[in-house]
C-alpha cells in the first residue's frame, strides 16, 4: 500500500481551546511525527472553509490519511465523513477525535497536563489511521418480498400494508381460516366494533374504499394481486441471509379445493362429530366444517385427525361441485423472501391448573373466550348466556380477574387487556339482559388506554358490582347446582359468599403454541415470559436481533386490537425500509477470520449475539469459523472471545489497538502516573462526552475508544500495564443495556479473569476496574476517574518484572 501522508487538522473552537491547550507545542510535536505531512489550525473543520481545506488536500493527493480534532465531534464526524467519502477517500482513513470534550474542557484546571494528553490522543489517532486498511462496500440482494407469519389482526394488517406498497407478500396461517384469536372475540373495545372487521385495502379494487373498515370476508384482502394467502401452513425451515431468505413452508392438506361453494351438504352427511375448538368446545362440529358462515377462505376443510376418509366418503358423494379430494397430500413450499414478519399472536391460559378454581371440573366455570362465543349470536348458544351444565339462562354472573396472571406460580406479568375484556363482556351482557346480576372480583382495575376508563364508568352506572378481593375458591352446591365464590370484600373487611349461576375466569393471555419452535427456526429470541423479544423495547419495538426479521402484535405481548394494529403498521414500515432499494449496501465494518489460525473451536459462533458466525469445513477434516458480513454488526465480541486471535475487525484490528495503547501512554512529559480508560463508542462513550461538557476529572486519565467493550482481550490490558499504565478502567454500557447485547457482560467476565491473572503476576488486581455507565452518568465517570487516579497513587509505582 501507498505510504501514509497524514494531514492533522486542529480546530480551536474560535480560540477557546487555545486558552487551555498549548497549540504551538502540539503543532511542533505533530511535525516531528513520521508521515505527518500537514498540520493545520482553524476555528472549525466540520463545515465551511475548514472542511474545504481538508477536501482540497485530499483531492490534490497531498494527504491520504486524515486526523481531525474537532470541537463538535459527533455531528462533525458525520459531516466530515460525508464530504471525505465523496472526495474519494476511504472512511477508515479518517479519524475524528474530540479535543474539547475529552481533553480541554474537563482538564481546564491543568493546562500543562491537558496539552500533554492532547498530544497523546493525536498520536494515537495518527497511529490508528497509519495502520488502517480500506473498507469495501458490499452489495447484497434484497428480494422485494415479505413473509408474514400469522393471519390474525396484526398479520393481516402488516401483509396488506406491504402488498399495497407493491411488495410481494405471503401471508401464512397455521389454522384453516384467517382471523386469529380476535375474530372469536365478538366485539372489540373500545369501539364495540365487530371482531371480524379489519382495515380494508387501499388498492384500486371495485367496491373497496380506503376510508373504511370491512369484515374480513368482504375486505378484499384476498384480492390484492401481490398478496398470496396460505392457510393450514407453518414454517419448518429457514435458510439464507437477511434480504434473501429461503423459507420452507409445510402446507397441510385441506381436502377441499377452490370449487367448494360452501353449501354445507358435506357437513350435513358427515357422521363424525367432535367438540368445536373455535367455539371453545361449547358446541360440536363435524369432521368437515367451516368456523363461521362468513370466513376467509370461504371453503370447507376436513379435520384429518378425525375424518374416516375412504371408509366413509359420504361427503364426496354429495358434493355438487366435486370439490372434495380425499387424496390430497401435505405440500412443501419454498419461498424466497427478503424479510419476515412474525405475527403469531397469543392465546388464553388454561386455568385448570389452579385447582381451587375448579375450571374443567364444574362445567359452569368458563373463561372469557368461552363467554365471548356465548355472547356471539353466530355462536353455539345463539347469543344466550347460559349455564353449560343445564343450558338454563345464567342470571347471576361473577367475573374473577387475574386468573393465572399477576400470579408468580404461573405468569407473573399483568396480561393488560383482561380488565377491559371483563368490562366489555359485563356491559354487553347487562345491555342485553338488564336484570343480570353481575359482580367483578378484582385486585386492581387497569383501564389505562384511551377511553378505557369510560368503560369502567359505564359499567358502574349500569349497576355492575365491583368487589375488591381475589377469591380463594369456587365451591359448588350440588343440591341447587349453584356456584359459590368465597371472597373477602377488602374495603368492608367482610367475607362474602357470592352465589352464581356462571363464573367467568379472566384467564391470563400467554404465548401462543409453537412460539419456542418458531423462534428456534428463525434464530430469534423469546423473553422470560415466552413472548417474542424485540431488539430494543424502547426504540426498536418491532425489530429482532436478526436483521430483516420483525415481530408485531400479540406475539410480543398481549395487546388490544388498536395496539396490535399500530404495531403491525410499524413492522410493515420497517420491512419496507429494509427492502425498498432492492439491495442492501453495507460498509464491511465487520469481523473477518484468519483461517490459518482458526480451527475446530466453537467460541465465536456461540458468543456472537447475531448468529453471524458459523463453522464450515475447511477442507482437511477441520472446521473454521465463517462470518456472514451481512449479519455481522461489527462489535468485536468474537475478537474478545477468540482464544488464538484468529478473528479481527476490519475497522479496528489488534495492531491498531496495541499501537493506540502504546501511543496514549508514550507521551509522559509531566511524569504523572497514567490511567488508561478503554471505553465503548456507545453508552460508555457518551458518559465521557457528558462528563467533558461541564465536569472535570484528572488529565492523567487517557482514553481509548473501541466499538464495544466486548472486543477487549486480557492481552490488551496486560499490554497497557506494560506500556506504562498504572491503572486501567473499562467503561461500557450497562450490562442489560449493551448496544450489542452481550458485550458489556463479556467484558465484565474478562475483567474478573484478568484481575486473577494480574494477581498471579504480582500486580494488584485493584489497578483494573470496570464501570457501566450511560450518558446521564457523566458525573459518575468523573468520580470513577478521580477514584482510580487516587487509588493508583496510593498503590504506588507499578513495577513489572
Amino acid at each position: 500500500m501507498e505510504e501514509a501522508r497524514i494531514g492533522v487538522f486542529l480546530a480551536d473552537s474560535g480560540g477557546q481551546l487555545s486558552k487551555i491547550l498549548d497549540f504551538e507545542s502540539i503543532t511542533e510535536f505533530l511535525r516531528g511525527i513520521h508521515g505527518v505531512t500537514r498540520v493545520q489550525r482553524a476555528s472549525e473543520f466540520w463545515r465551511g472553509d475548514g472542511l474545504k481545506k481538508i477536501i482540497d488536500a485530499v483531492k490534490s493527493g497531498e494527504i491520504n490519511r486524515v486526523v481531525v480534532a474537532e470541537g463538535i465531534p459527533k455531528i462533525g464526524e458525520i459531516a466530515i465523513a460525508k464530504s471525505i467519502s465523496s472526495a474519494g477517500l476511504d472512511l477508515n482513513f479518517v479519524e475524528v477525535l474530540d479535543l474539547k470534550g475529552h481533553c480541554a474542557w474537563p482538564h481546564r484546571d491543568s493546562p500543562r497536563e491537558a496539552t500533554e494528553k492532547a498530544k497523546a490522543m493525536l498520536l494515537a489517532a495518527i497511529e490508528k489511521v497509519r495502520l488502517s486498511q480500506p473498507i469495501e462496500k458490499a452489495v447484497f440482494p434484497a428480494v422485494k418480498s415479505v413473509l408474514v407469519i400469522g393471519g390474525g389482526v396484526a398479520g393481516m394488517q402488516a401483509a396488506e400494508d406491504l402488498a399495497d406498497m407493491g411488495f410481494q407478500v405471503y401471508l401464512i396461517e397455521k389454522e384453516p381460516f384467517l382471523g386469529g384469536l380476535a375474530a372469536r372475540a365478538v366485539r372489540f373495545f373500545p369501539t364495540d366494533d365487530c371482531a371480524v372487521c379489519i382495515q380494508s385495502p387501499t388498492s384500486d379494487l371495485k367496491t373497496v374504499t380506503h376510508t373504511s373498515r370491512k369484515c374480513i370476508y368482504r375486505s378484499g384482502i384476498s384480492e390484492i394481486p401481490n398478496l398470496q394467502i396460505l392457510t393450514n401452513s407453518r414454517v419448518i425451515k429457514l435458510e439464507g441471509e437477511p434480504g434473501n431468505f429461503k423459507v420452507t413452508i409445510e402446507k397441510k392438506p385441506r381436502y377441499v379445493n377452490d370449487k367448494c361453494v360452501a353449501c354445507g351438504l358435506c357437513a350435513s352427511v358427515c357422521p363424525v362429530e367432535v367438540p368445536d375448538e373455535y367455539n371453545a368446545k361449547l358446541a360440536r362440529r363435524k369432521a368437515i366444517y367451516m368456523n363461521m358462515p362468513v370466513v376467509y377462505p370461504p371453503l370447507y376443510v376436513i379435520d384429518g385427525s378425525v375424518c374416516k376418509f375412504h371408509e366413509c366418503a359420504k361427503c364426496v358423494a354429495v358434493c355438487p361441485t366435486k370439490a372434495i379430494d380425499l387424496n390430497q397430500k401435505a405440500e412443501t413450499i419454498t419461498l424466497n423472501v427478503g424479510s419476515i414478519i412474525v405475527a403469531t399472536g397469543f392465546k388464553e391460559f388454561n386455568p385448570s391448573v389452579i385447582k381451587e378454581y375448579h375450571y374443567g371440573e364444574y362445567p359452569d366455570i368458563i373463561t372469557h373466550l368461552e363467554l365471548a362465543r356465548m355472547i356471539d349470536s353466530f355462536g353455539p348458544t345463539g347469543g344466550r348466556i347460559i349455564r353449560p351444565s343445564d343450558k338454563k339462562e345464567a342470571k347471576r354472573i361473577v367475573f374473577i380477574q387475574c386468573v393465572g396472571s399477576r400470579d408468580r406460580r404461573w405468569n407473573p406479568y399483568c396480561s393488560g387487556i383482561c380488565c377491559m375484556i371483563s368490562l366489555k363482556h359485563a356491559t354487553l351482557i347487562k345491555e342485553a339482559h338488564p336484570d343480570a346480576d353481575i359482580t367483578i372480583c378484582y385486585i386492581d382495575i387497569r383501564t389505562t388506554g384511551r377511553e378505557h376508563e369510560y368503560y369502567y364508568e359505564k359499567a358502574r352506572e349500569m349497576g355492575i358490582k365491583f368487589v375488591k378481593g381475589r377469591p380463594t375458591e369456587i365451591l359448588h352446591d350440588p343440591a341447587t347446582n349453584t356456584l359459590v365464590v368465597d371472597v373477602e370484600d377488602e374495603i368492608l373487611k367482610r367475607f362474602l359468599e357470592l352465589e352464581a349461576d356462571l363464573v367467568v375466569l379472566a384467564a391470563a393471555m400467554v404465548p401462543n403454541d409453537g412460539s419456542e419452535e418458531l423462534a428456534k427456526i428463525l434464530g430469534i429470541e423469546l423473553d422470560k415470559d415466552g413472548f417474542f423479544k424485540e431488539y430494543n423495547s424502547k426504540l426498536r419495538p418491532t425489530e429482532t436481533k436478526m436483521r430483516g426479521i420483525l415481530i408485531c402484535g400479540g406475539a410480543t405481548f398481549p395487546k388490544d386490537v388498536p395496539t396490535a394494529s399500530l404495531h403491525a403498521h410499524s413492522a410493515a414500515v420497517k420491512a419496507a425500509k429494509f427492502l425498498n432499494e432492492g439491495k442492501i449496501v453495507k460498509d464491511l465494518r465487520v469481523a473477518y477470520v484468519n483461517e490459518d489460525y482458526c480451527g475446530d473451536c466453537e467460541c465465536c459462533p456461540v458468543t456472537c449475539p447475531y448468529g453471524a458466525i458459523s463453522l464450515v469445513p475447511s477442507g482437511n477434516g477441520h472446521f473454521v469459523a465463517r462470518v456472514s458480513p451481512l449479519k455481522c454488526e461489527g462489535c468485536g465480541i468474537c475478537v474478545g472471545t477468540c482464544p488464538v486471535g484468529a478473528i479481527e475487525l476490519n475497522h479496528l484490528n489488534s495492531k491498531q489497538i496495541s499501537a493506540q495503547i502504546k501511543a496514549l501512554l508514550s507521551v509522559n512529559e509531566t511524569s504523572k502516573p497514567k490511567v488508561l480508560a478503554i471505553y465503548c463508542s456507545e453508552c460508555g462513550g457518551t458518559a465521557l462526552d457528558s462528563a467533558g461538557m461541564t465536569m472535570s476529572y484528572p488529565a492523567n486519565v487517557r482514553t481509548l475508544k473501541v466499538p464495544c467493550t466486548g472486543v477487549i482481550r486480557a492481552q490488551h490490558i496486560i499490554e497497557a500495564f506494560k506500556a506504562g499504565a498504572q491503572g486501567v478502567m473499562i467503561v461500557g454500557c450497562k450490562p442489560e443495556g449493551c448496544h450489542y447485547e452481550a458485550g458489556s457482560q463479556m467484558a465484565k467476565k474478562k475483567v474478573e479473569l484478568t484481575k486473577a491473572l494480574l494477581a498471579a503476576y504480582g500486580i494488584e488486581p485493584d489497578r483494573l476496574e470496570m464501570f457501566n455507565l450511560v450518558y446521564i452518568e457523566g458525573d459518575k465517570f468523573a468520580e470513577a476517574a478521580r477514584m482510580m487516579s487516587e487509588r493508583i497513587e496510593k498503590l504506588g509505582q507499578l513495577v513489572i518484572a
Binding site: C402, D407, R408, I443, R470, E473, E488, F495
Partner: protein, 170 residues
C-alpha cells in the same frame, strides 16, 4: 428455627427491613393485598381479631409495635391454606412465624407460650400430662409414662439461648 439477633425497630421502614432479614420473613414485600389469604383463612372467618391480609398490611406500613404487641400474630393456626394459594408466593405462615420470633425477642410473649416453654424445660413435654390421663393409661393397655430425658434437651435449649429468651418477659 434459627434465632437472629434482634436489631430493634427504630422507624417504620426499619421494621419491614428487619422482617425481611428474618428467616421466613423474606417474601413479605411481594404482597399486593389481593385478599386471597383472608378468604382462605379459617381463623379469620371465626374472629375479627385475625385477618392475614390485614396483618400483612399493617406490617407493610411499618407499624411494628402494633403487630408485635397485638394478639393477631398468635392466632394463626398455621394451616398454610393462605400460603398455598397466595398468587405472589408470599410465605404468609412463615412470615407470621418470623413476626412471632421478633415479638418473643422483644419480650412480648403470651403467658401460654411461657407455660409451654417451661413445660418443655422442666418436664420435657409442651403439654403437661394430667393425673387423670396417667390413671387412664392402663385401661387402654398403655404402659405407664416414663419421665422424659430432660437433661440433653436442656443442654440444647441452653446452647441455643432458648432459656434466656423466654425469661425475657417485657
Amino acid at each position: 428455627m434459627i434465632f437472629v439477633e434482634d436489631k430493634g425497630e427504630k422507624s417504620n421502614s426499619d421494621f419491614i427491613k428487619n422482617v425481611k432479614e428474618m428467616l421466613g420473613g423474606e417474601t413479605i414485600t411481594s404482597c399486593y393485598q389481593c385478599g386471597t389469604c383472608a378468604s382462605s383463612c379459617p381463623v379469620a372467618k371465626t374472629t375479627e381479631r385475625f385477618n392475614p391480609r390485614h396483618l400483612l398490611r399493617i406490617a407493610l406500613l411499618g407499624e411494628g409495635d402494633e403487630i408485635l404487641s397485638g394478639d393477631a400474630i398468635w392466632l394463626c393456626s398455621s394451616c398454610y391454606n393462605c400460603q398455598e394459594r397466595c398468587p405472589q408466593k408470599v410465605e404468609i405462615a412463615e412470615v407470621i412465624f418470623a413476626l412471632r420470633n421478633m415479638a418473643i425477642r422483644s419480650g412480648k410473649i403470651p403467658q401460654i407460650y411461657i407455660d409451654f416453654a417451661n413445660g418443655l424445660m422442666n418436664e420435657g413435654r409442651v403439654v403437661p400430662v394430667s393425673k387423670f390421663v396417667e390413671k387412664k393409661r392402663p385401661d387402654y393397655g398403655l404402659p405407664p409414662l416414663k419421665p422424659a430425658g430432660v437433661e440433653p434437651l436442656r443442654k440444647i435449649l441452653a446452647a441455643t439461648g432458648f432459656d434466656k429468651l423466654i425469661s425475657k418477659k417485657g
